[in-house]
């Protein structure tokens, strides 16, 4: 904001103008905590002292920010504060308003890590029995990571094509500013319908991973409504968030593989079932073929039986025919026999042969005593009757 040379400002106006410019002077300042005092509302008032010449800077950290970082401001502790200067109107003093703080001394970082780890461990936040299983066949996945860098690409390249519904929230994952982002992201995901929450970032030094050693973040992870899967690369000291998570992997790729696992197993099972079903199906075909063959044989047998019956009928018919012909022949023989008998006994035939029949008074003459001398005898020959008289009987 430009200062108007001809204008006379009131104190308040001037401080407002200066503060408007000062808020753009964001800086990271390293120093040793001198005095540190908490106000009645929890705001922290402290001084940062230059290590070399002892120059002092008044600092304020609002309680809403201070409680995020889990760092106790104590005299002698070396920290890096990030923020911007501001003139505090009530007393006119220049103060550095710290948005974030982080420990700067390596020993302090390790000490803070160990202390928090022990504290949270005592509370049981890392206990294995409290871990929830990553659900089988997860579908809706919430991912918290930075859009920048290779991590998200590694994750997405390795997550299988199982129809995952992935929702991602871009968050800073390095530097103390990351804590605020991470907490905000988790808060957002609390309201979303997801099966599992994934927090991933690449490897780094303990210092760069300090946001993941934040107490509030650890508690959020433990209290999150669905299982939390963390994939943070690390060297020696496991980030506390990873220890608190329901499952922890060391790389984004491993996290992706873990999410794939149950689906891949399901695929294998499906393939196995498929093979089994096809094998069983094949058996059914075999059985059907056997039944079909049996049926064909039965049909053939049936056909043979019919043919046999037919052949028998033919044979019987043949015998009927033969029998009938025999019957006809016998009848003819009988007729011929009778004809012969009749012919033999035909009186006309005998007359024609020269035999004649003599009769007296209608009686056939068989003996000499059947006639008397002088009687008329009728002699029947083939073509008529000769009437003659008995002259002599010898």
């Amino acid at each position: 904001m430009e200062i108007e040379k001809d204008k006379i400002y009131s104190v308040s106006e001037f401080i407002t103008v200066v503060n408007a410019d000062l808020k753009w002077m964001k800086a990271r300042i390293v120093g040793e905590v001198g005095e540190a005092k908490a106000g009645p509302t929890g705001h922290m008032y402290f001084t940062l002292k230059d290590e070399k010449d002892g120059t002092m800077l008044n600092c304020i950290m609002w309680s809403s920010k201070y409680r995020l970082f889990g760092i106790t401001l104590e005299p002698g502790k070396k920290i890096v504060a990030y923020g911007a200067p501001e003139i505090y109107a009530p007393n006119g003093r220049l103060s550095f308003i710290a948005d974030t703080i982080e420990l700067a001394g390596e020993g302090d970082i390790k000490k803070q890590y160990d202390e928090l780890k022990n504290k949270l461990a005592k509370e049981g936040l890392f206990d294995l029995e409290n871990k929830r299983a990553i659900p089988k066949y997860p579908h809706k996945i919430g991912v918290i990571t930075s859009k920048q860098g290779a991590v998200i690409h590694d994750f997405l390249n390795n997550i299988g094509k199982f129809g995952f519904d992935i929702k991602m929230i871009d968050s800073r994952v390095e530097g103390q500013g990351a804590v605020e982002d991470l907490l905000e992201s988790i808060k957002t995901f609390r309201k979303k319908d997801i099966d599992v929450l994934v927090i991933i970032r690449g490897g780094g030094s303990m210092e760069s991973l300090m946001p993941f050693n934040n107490e509030l973040l650890v508690r959020e992870v433990v209290g999150f409504p669905v299982p939390v899967l963390v994939g943070i690369g690390h060297d020696k000291d496991v980030p506390l968030v990873a220890m608190a998570a329901d499952r922890s992997e060391s790389t984004p790729t491993a996290v992706a593989n873990l999410l794939n696992e149950s689906w891949e197993q399901a695929l294998l099972l499906l393939e196995r079932f498929e093979r089994k079903i096809f094998a069983s199906y094949g058996l059914i075909f075999e059985k059907y073929k056997t039944i079909e063959n049996k049926f064909k044989i039965s049909l053939q047998n049936f056909k043979n039986n019919i043919l046999n019956i037919g052949a028998n009928l033919d044979k019987q018919m043949e015998s009927y025919f033969t029998g009938f012909i025999l019957l006809c022949d016998k009848t003819r023989e009988k007729l011929n026999g009778i004809e012969k008998v009749v012919n033999l006994n035909n009186p006309e035939r005998n007359l024609k042969l020269g035999y004649s029949i003599a009769s007296v008074g209608g009686k056939i003459v068989r003996k000499t005593s059947d006639t008397k001398i002088g009687q008329d005898v009728n002699i029947k020959v083939s073509d008529g009757i000769i009437v003659s008289e008995v002259k002599e009987i010898k």
Partner: protein, 72 residues
Amino acid sequence: MAKETNNLNNNLKKLSEISDWFDNREEVDVEEGLAKVKEAVVLIKESKERLKQIENEFEEIKKEVEAKDDGK
């Protein structure tokens, strides 16, 4: 057909009786014998014709049956 078949049977029966009559005769009754002969001749002729007829019918049936068998 049944009537004709019966006629053949009857004819055969009658012819048998005539045959027996001749076989068992003690006296020759020329007139009766002639009458029998005449009757027998007619019966024999009829019977032979009927027999021939039956045989022809049988041949027809046989042919029909064999034609059916060939067409199987």
